[in-house]
């Protein structure tokens, strides 16, 4: 019996109850093998706990991957013309959206607009084409030169060598168009436009090859692995060097993949890609277009919002790339990277250059510490004119602990009980929620966490009191413990392995573009273990992840419609 996936079977979806949905993952993909050691390629079916992998899915390039690919192919100037359609999210991840959601027709039109603009700009300064031309075209009809161009540009654009049919097809397109316009380079520009609209460019296509050690699973081919590595680690198309490694078969085993990845991450080249992942998971993009009540928060504007985003990225970069240190420092850093605007908000000395970000120790008597004390997090998870302990708590529950917040019970009426007619703190106000048992079910998960952050207002500024009343910032994380204030919460979370596993899980989902099935959990557990063994260094985690079976193998594609 073929087990349908939740995603693709409206029949099932229609009939689903919540209960059924929660049972579905038991119906998993078919590749099964044991693997006692994440690095062991030869693990036979009996070598360890049962592991099942998900089938491969083609993944549409994310917008940034598209733009970076164009930059890698044709340089900065030409990449300025790239304007791909927006990413579509599924299951909370853009990368999963890229693997599950169909491209709407309007996206196809955007791709054409973008490809045409790129192609036009690519022949303004012919220097950008020189890597792909070893010939001086003798005229519009120089077929041999066109063919060379197709082969060379095509290999970079499609991230693999073109087959004979493809070379013939694109060379014919180039020749015919060159003749129409009486220009070799116009012909070449249409080749560029076509290759950038080819599904083989727009999607990471992965079909795999038989795994010689285990017929139940497939291994990514060398070129597929080159693309997967490069898009995951660098958010761009593989370099010539990486494609050469793929061609030589150097990416066929865990050691080769790890070595290639190490070289790719040298010099902090992985910053941009990790930042983009972090921005998505930590909701920093919400800072764009964030509204705050200008009467209450006159300091807040789009510049300050942009500074908040940058601050968060600076700390990540510092810990992961500059120091290569324990990532828990994200939660516990007693320093921050600030420009003049943020320095004013945090009450620290501004940098000489108001636009530059400089490291400042945070006031020792203040409670600000780590990412949960960053204004970006605090502002995104607040209302325009007041804090939202619920939103802040929900972030910790969902994004740091990877727990689910259940939907409210069906009979709940989410209206705050009558206002007492006198000022009250947020704790008192939400306390009215908690008196209603139906409300308390969910709010008891979230609010007691967020209430611990009440010293920070709706844009992340420090306040000693709430509407003139003293603050009680004690709180609780369910099943973990109680804490006092942000510093207490940060300390508590650092000691919770659930947080580490959540970080690994998020990265795994992002990297493999699917939500792991129950039989894949041992792989995530292994990675969580090796993350700990490395001293929680994210760079090591990236290397372990790309070398892990979950990144390099998959179940074969289902052949039939489900």
């Amino acid at each position: 019996m073929t087990c349908p996936t939740l995603a693709r079977t409206p029949a099932l979806a229609l009939a689903l109850t919540l209960l059924a949905a929660s049972l579905l993952p038991a119906c998993g993909p078919s590749s099964t093998w044991g693997d006692g050691d994440g690095d062991d390629d030869g693990g036979g079916p009996d070598a360890g706990p049962r592991v099942e992998l998900a089938p491969l899915r083609m993944r549409r390039l994310l917008d940034r991957q598209y733009v970076n690919s164009v930059r890698a192919l044709l340089g900065d100037e030409v990449a300025g013309a790239a304007e791909p359609p927006e990413n579509l999210v599924s299951r909370g991840f853009e990368s999963i959206g890229a693997a599950e959601v169909a491209a709407p027709a309007v996206a196809i039109k955007r791709y054409e607009d973008s490809a045409r603009a790129i192609a036009e700009r690519a022949i303004v300064d012919l220097g950008v084409l020189s890597p792909y031309l070893d010939c001086e075209p003798s005229g519009p009809g120089d077929a041999a030169c066109m063919e060379t161009f197709v082969e060379r540009f095509g290999r970079r654009a499609l991230r693999r060598p073109l087959d004979q049919d493809e070379v013939a097809r694109y060379a014919a397109l180039g020749a015919a168009t060159a003749a129409d316009f009486d220009s070799f380079y116009t012909g070449a520009s249409y080749v560029i436009s076509a290759l950038l609209q080819s599904p083989s460019f727009l999607y990471q296509i992965e079909t795999g090859e038989p795994d010689p050690d285990d017929p139940s699973r497939v291994r990514l081919t060398g070129y597929e692995m080159a693309s997967r590595l490069s898009f995951f680690l660098l958010d761009t198309a593989p370099s010539e060097e990486l494609l050469d490694l793929a061609e030589k078969g150097a990416l066929a085993d865990a050691g080769g993949v790890r070595a290639a990845a190490e070289a790719m991450l040298d010099g902090g080249q992985g910053r941009g890609a990790l930042e983009a992942f972090y921005e998505e998971r930590f909701r920093l993009r919400e800072l764009t277009g964030l509204s705050k009540d200008p009467g209450k928060y006159p300091a807040f504007d789009s510049h300050l919002a942009a500074s908040m985003r940058q601050e968060a990225l600076e700390l990540l970069d510092h810990i992961v790339w500059d120091e290569d240190s324990d990532y828990h420092e994200l939660l516990t850093a007693r320093y921050a990277y600030v420009d003049a605007d943020l320095a004013a908000l945090y009450g620290v000395a501004p940098p000489d250059d108001p636009e530059a970000f400089e490291r400042r120790d945070l006031p020792a008597d203040g409670g600000r510490i780590g990412i949960l004390g960053q204004a970006g997090f605090l502002a995104v998870h607040a209302h325009p004119g007041q804090t939202s302990p619920t939103r802040r708590g929900r972030f910790v529950i969902e994004r740091l602990l990877c727990r689910e917040v259940p939907p409210p019970p069906p009979d709940v009426v989410p209206k705050l009980p009558a206002d007492p007619g006198q000022p009250e703190t947020m704790r008192q106000k939400l306390g009215r929620h908690m008196k209603d048992e139906a409300c308390a079910g969910c709010h008891a998960l979230m609010d007691p966490i967020g209430l611990g952050l009440e010293h920070f207002d709706a844009i992340g500024g420090w306040r000693d009191e709430d509407r003139g009343m003293a603050l009680d910032v004690t709180g609780e994380v369910e099943d973990v413990g109680t804490f006092d204030g942000l510093a207490g919460l940060a300390e508590l979370l650092v000691g919770v392995d659930e947080v580490n596993r959540c970080w690994v899980e998020n990265l795994y989902r992002h990297a493999t573009a699917h939500v792991e099935g129950p039989y894949e959990l041992p792989l995530v557990d292994d990675l969580t273990g090796s993350f700990a063994a490395s001293g929680y260094r994210v760079r090591q985690l990236l290397l372990d992840l790309v070398a892990s079976p979950g990144f390099r193998y998959a179940a074969p594609q289902e052949e039939e419609e489900e």
């Binding site: 919540l18 080819s198 989410p414």
Partner: protein, 432 residues
């Protein structure tokens, strides 16, 4: 109970699907049974649009006191009278969206817009369980219009962390959400800025490019599994549409002035007023030039994250809606503004002549939201207005009809779908 519509909708997303329906209580009061639907001779084109705003209304300011024609204005429906389009509008109250599993807002949006239970993804996330009504109609209309439908959006403050149900209102299928375009300038360009003059050699060259893309796809298809083939097919449908756009003749109507409004924030505020007016203008042009027949118009997203700064407000509408005692007036203002935008669109359609009538007379618009009242998330009595006479198929003047039996909101969707494409039929749940 949800219903399922057949023809392409069925082929696209529902083959083998579980199908269910209700016994159809009559909505005859809405239908013009006088047989004068085609009195002008040949049938006029009939267009359809959903018009959505987030977070419901306030019932005591919404529900008219009297039923039938000549219904009396209420504070939140007053804009329809101010714009002098109330005679084209039927207000339907007392209906119930029957989706049983509730996350809040999700069931309101999915049930009201599609009739299908959403697909629950865990936590507070879901996506549509089937196509939205605009896509059912766009798929079943066999008029060959390209694009078959357009998706317009005004407020960009939409829910971003509850998956696609709360983010988009148009869905071709569970895994094919159709995001709206928020920039009127871009919509203008899509509709009017991309005609290729017949003598331009770039036209045939672009077609040649698309041919190469299709050949690539064919070669690729053989290597892919079923799920990927499905997505590749959707991609190629987009390529076919693009080819039609490149090859088509410019419309006979005068090209409207280029739209420059890009709906970018100004000092942290959305230009709601300007964007809404521009989008409505563009929809009217798109219909009067007969470039497309179907549209979805998301004025604000479900849940209501919009801040109505242009009304002098500083709080998110959603936050206010959970404290209706404190924010009653402000909340009411946002709803009135929402209805004003709908009324304005209707007025512009009515003021556009077509044949002996006008565009509103030959259109059907469904105003709806993701809940009845925001603070309760109610799926009973969600705001529903059907505007336009649908080429004579709907009653004129409009009526207020209040269901005494908590009729299914899906009945309304079915009535509209059948008015557009009579061959659309409801299907019964297929046993599994």
């Amino acid at each position: 109970m949800p219903f399922v519509l057949n023809r392409r909708a069925l082929l696209r997303g529902l083959a083998g699907g579980a199908l269910c329906s209700v016994a159809l209580p009559p909505l005859e009061a809405m239908l013009n049974t006088h047989g004068d639907a085609l009195s002008g001779g040949a049938p006029l084109p009939v267009r359809f649009a959903t018009f959505f705003f987030g977070n419901g209304v306030l019932w005591d300011q919404w529900i008219p006191a009297t039923q039938g024609p000549g219904w009396q204005p209420t504070p939140q429906l007053q804009p329809l009278f101010d714009a002098e389009v109330a005679d084209y509008c039927s207000v339907l109250t007392g209906f119930e969206n029957k989706l049983e599993f509730k996350i809040t807002h999700h069931e309101g949006a999915a049930g009201m817009l599609s009739g299908y239970p959403f697909e629950y993804l865990g936590g507070l996330e879901s996506r549509f369980g089937g196509p939205s009504i605009d896509q059912v109609i766009a798929g079943a209309l066999d008029t060959g219009h390209v694009p078959p439908s357009i998706q317009l959006g005004v407020s960009k403050r939409v829910s971003t962390d509850e998956d696609t149900t709360m983010r988009y209102i148009s869905h071709k299928s569970t895994t094919e959400p159709l995001p709206p375009t928020y920039s009127p300038a871009r919509v203008w360009n899509d509709l009017f800025g991309s005609f290729v003059p017949p003598e331009d050699p770039r036209g045939p060259a672009r077609i040649r490019v698309l041919d190469a893309v299709r050949e690539d796809a064919r070669a690729l298809e053989r290597k892919l599994g079923a799920a990927d083939r499905q997505r590749l097919a959707a991609h190629l449908e987009g390529v076919d549409e693009l080819q039609t756009l490149i090859e088509r003749e410019p419309p006979l109507c005068a090209t409207p002035e280029q739209e420059t409004e890009d709906n970018a924030d100004v000092d942290g505020l959305e230009p709601m007023e300007q964007a809404s007016q521009a989008m409505s203008r563009l929809l009217v042009y798109a219909w009067s030039c007969d470039l497309t027949r179907v549209a979805s118009y998301m004025l604000t997203g479900g849940v209501g994250h919009t801040v109505y700064g242009h009304l002098g407000q500083t709080d998110e509408q959603h936050v206010m809606s959970h404290d209706p005692d404190t924010f009653r007036d402000q909340l009411g203002q946002t709803i009135v503004w929402n209805v004003q935008q709908f009324a304005n669109l209707c007025r512009m359609l009515r003021d556009t002549e077509e044949g002996a009538g006008n565009l509103l007379a030959s259109s059907m618009l469904l105003l709806c939201s993701d809940c009845g009242e925001g603070w309760s998330h109610s799926t009973f009595d969600q705001p529903i207005v059907v505007a336009g006479s649908g080429g004579g198929q709907l009653v004129h003047p409009g009526i207020h009809f209040r269901s005494a039996t908590r009729q299914n909101t899906s009945d309304i969707l079915l009535m509209l779908a059948q008015a557009m494409v009579p061959s659309i039929v409801p299907r019964r749940r297929r046993s599994r």
